[in-house]
């Protein structure tokens, strides 16, 4: 063995590499039967009754099908069932005939009732319970028909049933799999689960028994890639053909690239920070208002979102057209105004504040913008990065001054406001106690007339802005990108519905 021989081998390997490299890339393009998707993170669970995080969004509508569906324009249309609404307290569902779950068991009214019973049973510990709180009973009327009766009118019900609460799973599989159901869910969606290697890949293959017919793409593979740069790199190198959560700074370049399609749409959620209303310094509304008026939200939009998305003053995004008020501008940015408010509140400056964020680059940047601007107005801001697991604990224990509170958004304003701003709302980490707003939101939830609802929400938002329990910053746009060859539909909620996707 001599050194020269070794060098020759290495040289051959390097020279040959491009040829080896071409094979899989071509295979990826021609094997257009498989779509590989780069997502931010693995889901936690595949059981819709227990889903509680962002991370299931990309997978859920492919594995499961809800009773009703929402269009990109946020209109309701039939899904597994069609629905009649004879009076505000009654919703009658008729399931499509001859449908089965992935395991072949029939989708019938009994299965639907079993699903609802499970979600509403306190022992299950399902987050759907609060979404289904106004439900009085679910009655089976016939083999394919059932009725949901409400305790009080609940305008968001259909929007809720177009999401996780309406996704039916196979009761037989629930019984057979027990706790394993979380990782082996059996639903009624366009794709069924083949395998799930945690943190590596989640593989789905098409389900011929889907009510719209078998989808065009045979296999879908979800790859969790947490780093946004690497995720995008995977799209560019052809390793994946669709990515979620494109970083805002890449939008400019991606729109110029010939092999990539960038899709951008108004989202449903908001980017905001909760003030801790239960302790100093933010238990005083004037201090909260002082902080709010120190912030120039346009800078946030520029520095964090790179011009995508819109400035937010409340929780209802522009995509919910009937409820959003484009002229709603409750406050003006004014550093002197802030200082005056702090002086009025009799608080010594600089006011020490800690902003708690997770280590997502966009959140950290946002916090730094807030820090710079608030420091100029009499605050002294420190930033603390924590991981997502700690975030939830910190929020619930109210162990923060200001904490990031992004919300992925729901198609109905109730979904964006009720849980946050009612006195006993499960997302009310701010400790905001307003009887007026609680009453308005409960009334709006039960009001069948949309115009009246819009008025009620406007009132609620005005009061919320005056009390400033939360600092709204932006309505981020939904930014996703794909290979040019992929045709697919983007939804405002950012979820992938791949039954509508195909390779051209």
């Amino acid at each position: 063995m001599s050194i020269n021989l070794k060098r020759r081998n290495v040289a051959t390997l390097i020279a040959g590499a491009p040829f080896i490299g071409m094979l899989p890339a071509q295979a990826l393009a021609q094997g257009a039967k498989t779509l590989t998707i780069g997502v931010v993170s693995d889901p936690v669970t595949l059981d819709p009754a227990l889903m509680a995080s962002f991370f299931e969004l990309s997978v859920q509508f492919n594995l499961h099908e809800p009773l009703v569906n929402v269009t990109p324009e946020l209109k309701i249309e039939p899904g597994l069932a069609s629905v009649a609404n004879p009076d505000p307290l009654t919703y009658r569902f008729t399931l499509r005939p001859n449908l089965t779950f992935h395991d072949g068991t029939p989708i019938d009214a009994a299965a639907a009732k079993a699903n609802f019973d499970r979600m509403m049973d306190p022992a299950t510990g399902s987050p759907r319970r609060s979404e289904l709180a106004p439900v009085e009973s679910v009655e089976v009327n016939g083999p394919l028909t059932f009725t949901i009766k409400l305790k009080a009118p609940y305008a968001p019900l259909l929007q809720v049933l177009a999401n996780r609460a309406g996704m039916l799973v196979s009761p037989a599989a629930l019984k057979a799999l027990g706790p394993d159901f979380a990782t082996k869910a059996v639903g009624a969606g366009p794709y069924k689960l083949v395998s799930w290697t945690k943190n590596a890949e989640l593989v789905l293959e098409r389900f011929p028994g889907y009510w719209r017919g078998a989808p065009a793409i045979e296999r879908v593979v979800f790859r969790p890639i947490s780093d946004e740069t690497v995720r995008l790199a995977n799209l560019r190198s052809g390793t994946v053909q669709l990515v979620d959560a494109v970083p805002a700074q890449a939008v400019g370049q991606l729109s110029r690239e010939a092999t990539i399609t960038l899709k951008q749409t108004s989202g449903l959620g908001f980017s905001a920070f909760s003030f801790n209303n239960t302790r100093a310094p933010f238990n005083d509304a004037r201090v909260r208002q002082a902080f709010t008026s120190a912030i120039d939200k346009q800078s946030v939009l520029r520095a964090v979102n790179f011009g995508t998305g819109k400035v937010a003053s409340g929780g209802i995004p522009p995509s919910i057209g009937w409820a959003h008020d484009p002229n709603f501008a409750p406050s003006k940015t004014s550093v002197e105004g802030s200082r005056k408010l702090l002086a009025d509140a009799g608080i010594t400056t600089p006011v020490p504040v800690t902003i708690t964020v997770t280590n997502s680059p966009a959140q950290v940047r946002t916090a730094e913008v807030l820090q710079a601007q608030a420091n100029a107005a009499g605050f002294k801001v420190d930033i603390k990065q924590i991981d997502p697991t700690s975030l939830i604990t910190v929020l619930r224990a109210k162990d923060f001054d200001m904490c990031m509170s992004p919300w992925s958004g729901r198609a109905d304003p109730d979904g964006n406001l009720f849980n946050y701003f009612t006195k006993s709302g499960p997302n009310n980490f701010m400790g905001y106690q307003s009887d007026k707003v609680t009453a308005l939101l409960e009334k709006a939830r039960a009001e069948p007339d949309q115009a009246t609802r819009a008025k009620l929400y406007r009132e609620a938002e005005t009061q919320i802005a005056a009390d400033a329990p939360m600092l709204f910053l932006t309505f981020p746009a939904t930014l996703q990108a794909s290979a040019k060859a992929l045709e697919w539909v983007q939804y405002p909620d950012g979820a992938f519905r791949l039954q509508f996707a195909k390779f051209s």
Binding site: I20, G125, S126, D180, T183, I225, V230, S237, T239
Partner: protein
């Protein structure tokens, strides 16, 4: 000899117990509750308590530890808090990719460091020596996430040879597996190369001065033969030793590389589990990693003893 080995293995047990106690305590000291994280922001107190009892997380810590330790002895590593998978199969499934990556990294490291070390030793204090040292030090002087990203930008996007990240199992598709392996292996291997190069250089310097080499030269043997047959073969002992140690250290060092390249190995598994406060997974993963580490160290000592008849295992 066998007695010595058994005694050595027996002395590992207190270390492993110590490690498991430290891990158990440390992960529970990290603020953050896995049950709340699992059930999400909207969960109510009752469901949280219910799940906590179900997972036996409301028991006193000492009870929890001994329950866990007892089950470990029977081979039951418990179930993951996130998703309820069997921990042992998760760990075993993750060891494969890490092992493959580590071996590939060692190969890369040797490919860089041995020639570099030999060049540096034989042409001491020349430009070749400096260049070789410099190249070997490059890998050590960059955080691996930086090197990894540069490689992705260069060899995956600018010149599309390799996929940007991810893993394909060798059983499923050997060609794709190899392509996915290259960039992370270079990233990891480059960092190791410096230590091995330094070791090779120093050892070669020692050895080349030795009497038997002088004799070989005096006999008129070609310089290349002298270096390879008389020099390197005697240098291989410390090099093998160093490799053994590096293999052990790799188990920890893969963490960042696996995270960047989404390589589903045990490093990434452990980091993700720490962030998710998935106690059984963290405890199991650290235990297995530490056990492998001490066993590799022991094996290295044994190999070293086998290679060098002058040394006896103590």
């Amino acid at each position: 000899m066998l007695r010595v080995i058994l005694i050595r293995i027996a002395s590992l047990l207190p270390i492993l117990v110590g490690i498991s106690v430290v891990t158990f305590s440390l992960i529970r000291l990290v603020p953050g509750d896995p049950v709340i994280a699992l059930l999400g922001m909207e969960a109510d107190e009752a469901s949280i308590q219910a799940l906590r009892s179900q997972l036996a997380l409301d028991q006193p810590l000492v009870v929890q530890y001994f329950a866990w330790a007892g089950r470990i002895l029977t081979g039951d590593f418990g179930r993951s808090i996130q998703g309820g998978r069997d921990v042992l199969s998760m760990l075993l499934g993750a060891l494969g990719p890490t092992a493959l990556l580590s071996l590939a990294a060692l190969v890369v490291s040797l490919l860089i460091s041995i020639p570099a070390g030999i060049i540096a030793a034989t042409r001491r204090n020349s430009l070749a020596d400096y260049s070789a040292s410099f190249i070997a030090l490059c890998g050590l002087s960059m955080p691996s996430f930086w090197l990894g990203i540069l490689l992705i930008m260069g060899l995956s996007i600018a010149v599309p040879i390799f996929p940007a990240s991810g893993y394909v199992s060798p059983g499923q598709d050997p060609a794709a597996f190899f392509l996915h392996l290259v960039l992370p292996a270079i990233t990891l291997g480059a960092a190791l190369a410096a230590a091995t190069m330094r070791m090779t250089r120093a050892t070669m310097l020692e050895v080349l001065r030795a009497d038997y080499v002088r004799t070989a030269r005096a006999k008129g043997l070609r310089e290349r033969h002298v270096i390879w047959h008389h020099g390197l073969s005697n240098a291989r002992i410390p090099i093998v030793t160093l490799l053994g140690i590096q293999l052990g250290q790799l188990l920890g060092g893969v963490v960042i590389t696996e995270t960047v390249f989404s390589w589903p190995g045990i490093g990434k598994l452990t980091v993700d589990a720490i962030f998710a406060r998935d106690y059984p997974v963290v405890q199991g993963a650290v235990l297995i990693t530490a056990t492998l580490f001490v066993l590799i160290n022991l094996a290295t000592d044994l190999i070293y003893t086998a290679l060098d008849p002058r040394v006896r295992l103590t």
